[in-house]
Point group: C2
Chain length 341, copies 2
Amino acid sequence: MSELSSRQQTILGLVVKLYIATAQPVGSRTLLENHLDLQVSSATIRNEMAALEDLGYLTHPHTSAGRMPTDKGYRYFVERLLGDIELSAAERNTIRHQFHQARLEMSQWMRLAAAVLTRSLRGAALITAPRMDKPRLRQLSLLSTQAQRALMVVVFQGGNVLNRSLTLSEPTSPELLIQLANKRNFAFENLDADAIRRKISDFTDFEREIVQHLLSLMSSDADANPQQIFHDGLSEVLQEPEFERSSEANALVSALEQPSFLTDVLDAPIGTVQVVIGGEGRWQELSACSLVFAKYGVEGFATGALGVLGPTRMPYARAIGTVRYVADLMSDMVSDLYIHE
Amino acid sequence: MSELSSRQQTILGLVVKLYIATAQPVGSRTLLENHLDLQVSSATIRNEMAALEDLGYLTHPHTSAGRMPTDKGYRYFVERLLGDIELSAAERNTIRHQFHQARLEMSQWMRLAAAVLTRSLRGAALITAPRMDKPRLRQLSLLSTQAQRALMVVVFQGGNVLNRSLTLSEPTSPELLIQLANKRNFAFENLDADAIRRKISDFTDFEREIVQHLLSLMSSDADANPQQIFHDGLSEVLQEPEFERSSEANALVSALEQPSFLTDVLDAPIGTVQVVIGGEGRWQELSACSLVFAKYGVEGFATGALGVLGPTRMPYARAIGTVRYVADLMSDMVSDLYIHE
DNA sequence: CGCTAGCACTCCGATAGCACGACTGCCAGA
DNA sequence: TCTGGCAGTCGTGCTATCGGAGTGCTAGCG
């Protein structure tokens, strides 16, 4: 990314901001009218704009239209021109306050996080539940439901609860199931899947059958335990002018409905906010969108992702600030709730 | 609803069918071309169409356009003109087969039901989890997580599992919690919320605190336990021509995002398939849509709803047949899984 | 050498006019 | 009671036109 003169940076920044605000291509004259403090003429701006276009930061929808940023232009803007992106103390307070009022429950917090992002950014909020990295067993229950059927309830260290109903290969008495659960409960307490797998040779065939189910439940295998992506605010995004044409809107909705899609996209180191602009070449469906997201949770323990999806013409500063703050809050939640002292 | 002559019924039926197939207003000549067996002239058809319009079953978008059905026309069609709406044996088999391959789990079945509806009807599928009418307790666990925090895991008769983390009013030892859970476990086994509430006077303050949480978890109160509505196939619907204009699409998406909205709509006696056409006057947002849905489950025990949302121009016969069949399958699932012998 | 003023040029979008085709409504006659 | 035919209505697609917004270029100024 070659260096831009200071004046080019200013102009690029102004074009991006104005375009974000108005959704209209901005011309040299319009730019001047909105920023009277620019001490140059419109002709100069035209020259600089042409230069920025040659460098790939701006485009033209057609000859006699104003300029609008390219994805590269947005990227430069986000990485180099974005100043202070901390939320104000007042905004932080409002958000924090809402979280403190909610019940101590992950699903509540997720719903709330989505609502906060949606409301403050007018975009679609996405959030995945935190997934445990190496879940360790806390308690295993087996309850008989029918002769060859049982319900397995597993509580993990940290308070995650999963359950699954099993079909058994042979009829089994309720007592036997309880007995088995109690036995394994002590033996497996605090172990992760690998440790349990190492013990598997000690078991009878029947025990092994049960333990296989347990292991499948504990694996973070996407097939066995599909990850729910909670989303909210889709209708907000669809109101943006770029989704007037139904084909654009459709691409977005389809993308969101593909369950695998977002888990592919939402991968980031924890603590940083990632920005994917216009699908960044890799995701055709997102060509009109940007995604601002962050991983939250405690690395190596339990992590999830949350973010906001909007048109490329998105208020990046606010988005980055808000996503970061909400992710921090959610991380606190995870470490508070899951890592009990 | 006044009586129509047999010829008027035929014509209304043909208009509805043709309009559903083509999404174009159908004129008298077009109707004849598609149904050469009609032994009348186009002029006669025009007369009958005019009569049907006077009676409110058809409209005109403008003077020189063909006719299209009104909501009243659709309703007449659905209630009086729809013949055999059983699925063919082959279709039933295909669907049943898919269900038998799935794991024995409600969430899996819901996902599958949604997928089946979406694929066979090209509409958005909606489905709520079965909610127990009077849940009876099977097992209660209390696990200590922090000094003043505990995790409550409740298994209901039938194998539903819910959990919630609690904040306690005073520090409590893990042992005490386990002890309490065990004690209540026996006392509450197989009781419903009312029966438990009747016993509440026997308890110490601390026990009462816990039991309050238990009761809130057992109540089907919408605030305490918001009902998830799973949906799929939204993008299919948005491809229909009536959602070209983004405002229509938006109304639909907003409606789906309002959590309370669908629980209001989806209320029906079990066993029958309900059809809501064009929002039926009550739901503004659905004015371009129809909703074909049914309640499933076992009345008085656990029930949910499932259905399909599409444009009013929807293939009602297929929709009603498919929704009914899938609802039946889901009911079997509920009685099989929840009411263990 | 950089900046500016001015001008020619391009292109979009809105508007109007026109011909075409689809359909209705109606009337007279079988 | 039905039908054939005809006049009338209205949307659609095509074309032409016009104004406006904005660019690119060039000559001239500091």
